[in-house]
Symmetry: D3
């Protein structure tokens, strides 16, 4: 049975395939019977699963976060969300040990990650910096990219609401930086290098704020200091190491990073006081808000014209209605 | 004496040139002596002028908004703003009537207007719609542009804080529409035609909200109804006249216009519930905020690293400090 | 067994009567057994019902929104709200087909609707307009009432929090208009006709914003445009059709409609700038807030001096305590 | 020369009449010359006056708040507000002492006060309580009215923004109480006596919060405790003295008084939790807001369609435009 | 089996001990079977318990709030909170009646209360007033303490979020008053007696706002009037009875009590306008906020570096990480 | 003539003494005559002065910020604030050059500075750290104090609203640290060393944010980065240099510094998530708010019971009224 992507599962269908275990919880029914509440994922999303007592007796596990598992079961809708009622489950490891054939098992299908090729994103981002920055900003930006290549390639973009997956930070940064480049053609009066450097570096501190791209969590430093000041310090330190020759240019770049949330109440200790900082703030906003909307639209059930309520956007979204004839092949 | 642009006047310099009278007020000093408080402008800006009693006796006027006047005087700084202490003033009309030679008088220099060629902006905007929209949106947008060509060419962008001059609406719309076009290359998943049509039409209601591009004022309808609903109605009416064939597409376009202030508290009766509406909202924000900053930076006195406080942005702006050597030729 | 009104049901009583099905959901218990979660209503309210697996086997349905059903069961309290545990259920249609006698079945009892006679409300409202408006406002208001009679007679007043039922819009409008008439005796300086016309028309757009008075839902246009601008457009169009002769009077009436939510953050694109608009805003507020409180007090369980927390009012309400002797016969 | 009411004075007219001095300040011009800045009033309003040095030498005063003065001068507009440039001024007292004839001097014309007959307002208010309340609320309300008759007859309604004059509190209370009576016919489910008693007593604490009805000022207790709790205590004390027999009824009345500002941020220590309290809150709001608008419209200069910005309402007001023919005689 | 404190219970352990019943609810499972949802407490905290149908048949109760019960069962974690799955339960009363031995039953262990000795707190608080206040403030404060001794000894500090237990008000007052005394050494310019008296009396109204220290609930007067004005009135009345000789000093003390929530939106009808009032406001804030944090940290499960989200503080708290070697013996 | 402190000057008195020039502005009267607007200060405060044209002719200066000047003149009240009308002014330098005797000239009297002995404050602060901190926090704190001794001794506490003078930062830090020490006796559960170290270091970044203690101004880095992150970086760097051995302890200290404004909207990039951070936030608040109140009360004119409106506190302050007999000698 071919792998059905989590994002495309419907209710009331048979499931017979592999997943990555992302969370495990042992619970008890109101009758006092134990059952397992799992969160199972693949590269397209995550959903709940239940292993009731009867099944659990036959499939006792144990199961842990990070296990690959083979699962049989049936989807159903519970309080508006899909879940799998499991009729069989075991780990790939144990199945292999018992010599079972694992038809269709492909770990690459099971990891939630940016849908883009991360190396390609990296190359485009790097080229943008190489091709459109000049010293000393070029040296500063490339120095930071080189030094943190591995972390940037894997870090998530946020804990929960946008790009919360492997490569999410890279995808977000790539998008904001490319947008910045486009925007500069509209606003030639701005210092283009500052905007571009700011767009590339604005969220660098996320590599210290968030851990575990597969299931992003804030680190203690992320909670207690935050990515804004952590990223600012990284830029400042690199500049010191490179003996960056233009204090005012550096100050303006630092200001872009510290002010990129746009307002004190959103966590920036200073608000944008230059046009370059203002633009980077808005481009960051656009990318994260559009991604949130994308994710919410994708995960919405097909019924109805509107999605459910989005807790951060504080609104429902319109899914679009009938299409003009010439667009009948495709869709929004 | 060559015309010195208002935007480039310094304090304590002699002025001997022409202006457009933008406001006239008769006042009395604390000693009970009458004097004139004028606002004089040219294409680059506006400043205060004072005609004290002694001068007023020799130059009794009268003076009215819209008069071209020849002025001699001296600039000074009063509470952080420049003003002219007038030693001679008379209208061009009376001077001409008396046969005076009006060396250097050029009305084109005196009107506050977009620094761009309005016909060029119009052509670019129109081409964007013609080249990148298809029916039925193309017909709707071009229909509205054709119908309101003259008003769009002259309307201001806002009453006070951004683009408050002849052609301001056109300049703003042109900028937002071009930016939208650039942004669409970054966000291919959006309905490009909706974004572009929304960007072009979002502020159309301003032609009914604001009167007198030379000195923008809100009309009663502008005050009591506002440009958002006025523009929405224009789109809706044109669509009805054209028998626009796709109700849902039209609904989404109408939504972009009604929601383009981004939040209820900023005057939109609905908040953006589609990605297209969200993007147009942000692009409008970027253009108006960057323009506000431009205008504030341009009108700031040269002393100090920071401008004065901006009442809408609620902050001071950084004017930038020393520049890296390779940029010494230009910019900002 | 006589019909027991939903609003008067207590816990732990037997139920044996008819309901209207307002919502149906198929769910699965934690043991994996299917059950039905229904919402059953009559003219006085709505409550939850559960058809567990054992019963479901005998009463398999199917059941759909809008069905009349005969139900036997028992009420119980679940998390502070009443629900019926169903022991028998079938549709009136199938029971009739099988020749069953339907004692006590009366559809009029089962529809949630204004407790008032809708024709009477309509007559009073209409007379108010006829008797106290003069041309041209009279023509405009009566024209709109005539044109939309059927929709106004059935539309709900809001989706959820006040008057969410058949005839709710009419009841609310009737109440606000009558209150306006009373208030005008206190504030004779206001333009009485404007206030009265504004009170009658302020929520007219709800007939386009909300669908299905039995279970109000926002239409796409309701979500994406909102009743405020939809109602404004209806007034403006009718005025155009009638060639309304007084532009300023019309502008003030339009302003009342657009500003009747009182502030930008509540969804009005402009805030009240006339006394007439201010008064209509407050009268609308009073009626919707008092109705919310009424509904919350009515649906509160009898125990305790205070209701539960109201999510829109963001407070608990006092139910009143002991009464003075002379009031023992009645009231509140 | 007949008395010209302050509220009807135009700019650039001769003034030759009597005023009441409401404020006196000795100032110095920028040349170091002393002058007097006065505020002069009559029953219709207050305006600024200036006595420049030259005049001051001839009319040295002294002048104090509360003096009746004869004034000659000329009005002018200064920064959008009228002021009188005084050419002669002396007190009525000194003029009488010198045997001058005081043609047209009428103290009744000079006191800013409610335009209504205060005794009539009192009678209407008192009758409302007598006729529509029954014991024990009747006794409580009449007891408080009797006890504080003199203070209620003279107290202002607020320090500055609405009813800031002799009899203002009475006028406001009378208006709110009459409106409450009208509203009760629309909302028969409410406890009518509670609403009426609450409407009559809601602002009683103002007699302790504000001093000097001619020029209202907050007392220390007004600043440090506020009229809300001061009024509450008065009701509570009177009830204790009368041995009010129904604790719950009293509690609800007290709640109306404490919650009548409608929300914590407006100074009520509790928010309305009964329908009666909610209604009294809104009726108070309506009366104070409409009065603010009245006062702002009345004091606006005749030019233009809109008033200046109102600092409490945070908006400009529309003055109304052309009128329909049938209203040409009268209106608003 | 020794008593295990609720605050120290872990999941998956056997429980065999006594509790105080704090809440009882009869519910039905989704299969329609009845079960009991209890809240059981001891002096260290409260937790949920479930008596499923099978057990209920053997242990039918009845059970009521306030019963002492013997319980056997096992803890488990349900949605992140501990609960007991009960296998046996009966009341101490019935067990005693049947002659059972109640090993380890100690009522003192079962009541939630301040961890301090209440008499000691009282003595310290009283001594502070006696030793550091002089007449007339001393008389006023001691008079109020004497009169309300019993209520202060038992009242809770708040309904839910800080000190919600027997003696909580006393503990909070003692802490704020002692802190005030310390702070006065840093700010010698303040009126020390006012600060101290204000600190002692600021929350006195809580004895009327809250009932039942074991399970604090707001009284009707607490809901409709609030502790701030209730406490103010108590002070004012006592002062009247004592013929307090210094009206201004009293006014300032009253102001401290009314303004001690620091801002209108937090329920004070006036904001602090003296330094003494400002200090008392902050000291109250510090004590309640630190206590909230204490309670949240104590009730947090041991896993992870951060607590769950606190609904009033609107944040997670850091539990602290590794400790430096020299602190290994103790604390935090 | 003895030096009259600025803080004790009354209106309408003769002035004949020395000042420090803190600001100079050349202006023009409405008649076009030049005059000087000066701000003159001594150690107790600052006030405006005017040198009108006639005087300016005799006393042409020039005058610059930082000059010591001898002044004769007279105080007057202008718009509620004192100013000096100067009849003679010259610099001490020029007077000395001309051999004039400078009776009573004492620079120490003229510098606005903390009223405390700065060396004593420093010693107390240093001893607190030495005596109550242990390694490694002791080393970190003393290291930073040693390194920045000179800057801490001179830096102001804020630009304008509290401690805006030489030694202001030291005075504020000393006060907060001593208060912290006192508070720790009330809250023994907190990590005392963290609180103390946090209190001492919380505002360290001000030495980089503000320049010129005599007339504090924000530096570009102060504007674009802010003292919060600047101070955090200093601590972090010192810790790195000292190879601070306990990462978690350091993290908590860093958190105190970053969160000490208490909320995002007040400029902290993170909010307090530990009790230690919460306490330091409140102690900082108390000290700055009480100082603001002190300064406002001190600069208030003696008339009336209340001060003028304070723009940051957004309220008027009570100055206190009559005093009880036993306090007649002293206080407040």
């Amino acid at each position: 049975m071919a792998h059905q992507l989590v994002s495309q599962l419907k209710k009331d269908v048979q499931v017979h395939q592999f997943f990555l275990v992302r969370q495990v919880e042992e619970r008890t029914t109101k009758d006092g019977k134990p059952f397992l509440a799992l969160r199972l994922g693949d590269k397209s999303g995550v959903l709940e699963a239940r292993v009731w007592n009867e099944v659990l007796k036959k499939c006792p596990g144990p199961f842990a976060t990070g296990d690959y598992v083979a699962v049989q079961g049936r989807t159903e809708s519970y309080q508006g969300e899909l879940q799998i009622i499991v009729s069989f489950i075991d780990t790939v490891e144990r199945l292999q040990a018992r010599g079972r054939k694992l038809e269709g098992f492909d770990p690459a299908l099971l990891h939630l990650a940016t849908p883009h090729d991360r190396e390609e994103l990296w190359q485009e981002l790097y080229s943008l910096a190489q091709g459109h920055l000049t010293p000393p900003l070029q040296g500063l930006v490339l120095g930071l990219l080189d030094k943190h290549r591995e972390e940037i390639l894997s870090a998530p973009g946020a804990q929960l609401y946008h790009h919360p997956y492997l490569g999410g930070l890279l995808e977000h940064t790539w998008s904001v930086a490319r947008h910045a480049f486009q925007s500069l053609s509209i606003y030639p009066g701005l210092n283009a290098e500052l905007v571009l450097a700011g767009a590339i570096l604005h969220d660098l501190g996320k590599i210290k704020e968030l851990a575990q791209p597969q299931a992003p969590e804030r680190t203690p430093a992320g909670h207690l200091l935050g990515h804004i000041v952590l990223g600012w310090e990284m830029v400042r330190e690199e500049a010191r190491n490179q003996e960056f020759p233009h204090p005012d240019l550096l100050l303006q770049l630092e200001h872009i990073i510290l002010s990129h949330h746009g307002a004190l109440e959103f966590g920036s200790p200073v608000e944008p006081k230059t046009r370059e900082a203002m633009l980077v703030y808005y481009l960051d906003e656009i990318d994260s808000k559009l991604k949130m909307m994308d994710q919410h639209l994708e995960s919405a059930p097909p019924e109805g014209d509107f999605t459910g309520y989005h807790r951060v956007l504080k609104r429902v979204l319109y899914k679009g209605g009938e299409r003009p004839p010439e667009e009948s092949g495709g869709q929004d």
